[in-house]
């Protein structure tokens, strides 16, 4: 089965779970006076879940056929090319983004951002350390100034234990 149909199956599961919540669990906590309304909080989700399950089945069963195979369409990335892709780098960068999210508050904006920009370049294969640190430092300073001073949004610049 092709990847798009596997994903169709996953989406079908999501809609099934959503539909279960809408049809069977949501209405339990509804106040009695609201039950007299023609529309309940679950009405719209119920409609969506039914439509989602129908469309999901169409995708999973492959009822809608494409005119030409995906491989003939040059603008589409065929997932069989995946092996040629640099998945490792992408994964590391995503990990770095997660680390940034977790460290932004405790480590402060400046350390987290300079670290992120330098490490990002290192992951991509850059080794000019001085250039990297200088570029990252200047960019961090400029962005911090713009966000904190110009836009007026608070960004803790230094680590929490330093008190700022």
């Amino acid at each position: 089965m092709a990847l798009d149909r596997w994903i169709g199956l996953i989406l079908l599961g999501i809609f099934a779970a959503y539909g279960y919540a809408a049809w069977f669990t949501m209405d339990g906590s509804l106040a009695p006076f609201m039950r007299r309304n023609p529309i309940w909080p679950s009405t719209f989700p119920k409609v969506l879940s039914v439509m989602g399950i129908i469309v999901g089945l169409i995708i999973v069963l492959g009822l809608e056929k494409s005119d030409k195979p995906r491989e003939e369409n040059p603008s589409v990335i065929v997932y069989r090319q995946l092996k040629e892709f640099k998945l490792g780098q992408a994964g590391l960068l995503l990990g770095l983004m997660v680390a940034y999210a977790l460290l932004l508050r405790p480590a402060g904006f400046i350390i987290a951002t300079v670290g992120f920009l330098v490490m990002g370049s290192v992951i991509l294969g850059e080794r000019r350390w001085i250039t990297m640190i200088v570029v990252a430092g200047i960019a961090t300073g400029v962005v911090w100034y713009l966000v904190q001073v110009v836009l007026g949004i608070f960004l803790r610049p230094l680590p929490a234990f330093m008190g700022v």
Binding site: F44, V55, L87, S121
Partner: protein
Amino acid sequence: MLEGIMIGLQTAFSIQNLLMVIGGCLIGTFIGMLPGLGPMSIIAIMIPVAISLGDPSAALILLAGVYYGAIFGGSTSSILLNAPGVAGTVATSFDGYPMARDGKAGKALTIAAIASFCGGSIGAILLMIFAPMLSSVALLFHSAEYFALMVVGLSAIAAFAGTGQVAKAIMMTLLGLIMATVGEGALFNMPRFTMGLMDLQSGFAFITLAMAMFALPEALYLVMDPSRSKTGQSGDIKDLRITKDEAKSIAPVVGRQSLQGFFIGVLPGAGATIASFLGYAVERNIAPEKEKEQFGKGSIKGLAAPETANNAACTGSFVPLLTLGIPGSGTTAILLGALIALNVTPGPRLMVDDPQIFWAVIISMYIGNLVLLILNLPLIPYIAKILAVPRNFLIPFILFFTLMGAYIGQNNATELLLLVGFGICATILRFADYPLAPLLIGFILGGMLEDNFSRSMQLYDGISFIWERPMTLGLLVIACLLVILPSYRARRARARAAGVADGD
């Protein structure tokens, strides 16, 4: 209308807003030139900045400037590097790149800029004529019609997704709609589908989703497939002038494509990409035999046609946004999200309640086009230097800006984790050829769709509004036809083809 135009002129010509247009165009051109970053990603990144301005006119003017600039920048990278950053400028590279290879890069850029300028300006005039007309009709609509109209819009977007793609596009729209139901709705005052998580109480943030759907997958693709990020020296760009004869030969093309592009842009889901390809095809078909051979080898007509059409279509796509509050493309959907965040509800009331916003946006479209022609064109040789920035530096910065965008919008680090999670899902969905724009459009329209649906249900005490209001019924029938017709026609064509094979 004249009064409105005067208010618009007054607002658009304030120093602050002029700076916004100029700044927006420059930023848009600058980033739009980077291969792989389309207008949607750039606008998504700029939204937090626009929202923090606080003034809806200024914000919308800035974003519209960024939009124009990004499309112009995209054309530049199509011409110079044969690396279209956006689908809408793919047709530009057909003739633009051969011209650049022949050493006529400067001329190609000028033609692109003039064609864009004319397309955008004529589009803006048409917008001034048609938007108020459509607005006055739309004022007669009730919530039932609004509900039906949104369903038509969403179906049209799915229907234009192409054969074999309709089910996937509908699936993505529905996914967007169910994501919009997460959190506490205004109508019911109770949290839904939050799974008990406090962070989901207010629903998913639109900026985070926009970044995750467009900016992050683009950046990840640049990482995974280095051949996509063709950076390098663009060579010298000189001789920006075009001759009188050349101007004369592209004039009719520009005229035709401005009109055609605009009306294609008005249709939900069609947008700049279809307009540019169709414009190119039409001009090639009606060109004299001798010129036809030149198409694809550096024809100036072949360059002017898609450039005019895609700009006119961009302007056209503002018609449903400003008059009905229904975005027809991913980009206008993002703009709609930004407007809602600024407490402005686009729709027929916009012209009545906030005429200064409505007209200022239209006037600033002219100014934006003018800025692109006068300011950006001479600067292009310098702006093109950004193409020489190594990707090892570029990509971490793009990722950092997506993170910052999501963080500034919500001031919450959990949002960043959501961004990464959604970004991974979006990348996988793109691998499997699922279109992402319908998801975002569904997400943005979801709340309004449900509100209008609920209101009609309450007024009519059930679903009888569907058959008691003829216009609603008519619109819903159109929506069904839009979805069913493409598959039906494809099936019939296949059946016929199979029949022929048997007969032979």
